[in-house]
Symmetry: C2
Subunit: 205 residues, 2 copies
Amino acid sequence: MSRSSSTYHHGDLRAACLRAARELLEEDGSAGLSLRAVARRAGVSATAPYRHYADREALVSAVAAEGYRELATHLTQAHPAPSTPDELAAVAVAYVRFALEHPALFRAMFAEPCDPTSEERVAATAAISEYVRTIVAATFPDVDADALSTTVWALVHGLAFLHLDGKLDSSTPEIVAAQVTSAVHALFNAAPAMSGTAAGAQRGV
Amino acid sequence: MSRSSSTYHHGDLRAACLRAARELLEEDGSAGLSLRAVARRAGVSATAPYRHYADREALVSAVAAEGYRELATHLTQAHPAPSTPDELAAVAVAYVRFALEHPALFRAMFAEPCDPTSEERVAATAAISEYVRTIVAATFPDVDADALSTTVWALVHGLAFLHLDGKLDSSTPEIVAAQVTSAVHALFNAAPAMSGTAAGAQRGV
DNA sequence: CCTAAGATGTATACATCGTTCACATCAGGG
DNA sequence: CCCTGATGTGAACGATGTATACATCTTAGG
């Protein structure tokens, strides 16, 4: 891997494509993420990316998987190991904030049915799902963790999308945080009643 | 509008395009919805649709608006005027069922930031939003209707997306219904506590 | 050290797509 | 009756995803 004089070989085209795709997504939205644009930005011919990604969807899946991982670290940064309703609410706020800070990425992560052939992608989403379940179980040990974590995730996920679609007031981060906190706490008020409900319908991913 | 012998003029291309677009969406997903395919299916030249829709996005917006209206009637069919938590839960189940029965349409409705230039589209979404607010207010008269309706909508919307993404068990309608019902009731258990909360952060659309 | 094979990038080509523009055809009101 | 506006046609342009054949580099094994 010596950085030889030749510019024929890129060095790490795979990573360069991922970065370029990510940038294009944030700059021009999903429509701007074309394989050719990625190749141009990486300074490479139009077909070069095919050596590293089977097709456009594979690249998008890779970007989405990266997004999941970033979301996970973003959440743990909000609080490493939440164990109280307030700490859990802080994580929820971080989730919605991530969506608002990376709207195109967040949409790419959920725009299409998760391609099951991208094991990188399913692994990343499973990690998120498991993480949510774990911290909910830590906060409400006496409750059906599967049921509550699904409900919490759905609530927060729905809030994120409604904010993205402009259905709610997202003018300042404080307003968003207050809104998410209030909604999540409303659910938590009912959480103790959820122990052993008939909500066995949920299933972890 | 006499059905003259000539086939030159279609008669109602606008509606035909809408129908063709809708069919293509359900058959081949969002990727299959191309203007040219719509024109082909309507039996018309590739550029004819431009007489009725400014561009592809305008057509998609029209399809989305139709989807909102169908969703609204689907909800009212579940229950015309819900006023108890159980009736409200039935409407929630109908919401998620609609998403699962028309996945591509549902995604088209929420895939992109709602184009504010399509007044048909914003009107249709505002109608849904208002409807949710109204039935929540009818069921919980003593509660901050804006706050609770936003929270309920977010929960149900999130459940719909998690089901669409295969994150939850959607194997049978009964399982889905049980899951949605349980989640919604959990929230309702806390609803009485929401009167006059600090959740003035919400705003109707 | 040399060489052959695999990995990586290039060039070319094709079908499709969105969109524009000039033109053809039809319908209805002066 | 014909002229004007609405509607549909056709050819054309640039961009895109992708397949194929070819070029170049890296590196493992003799």
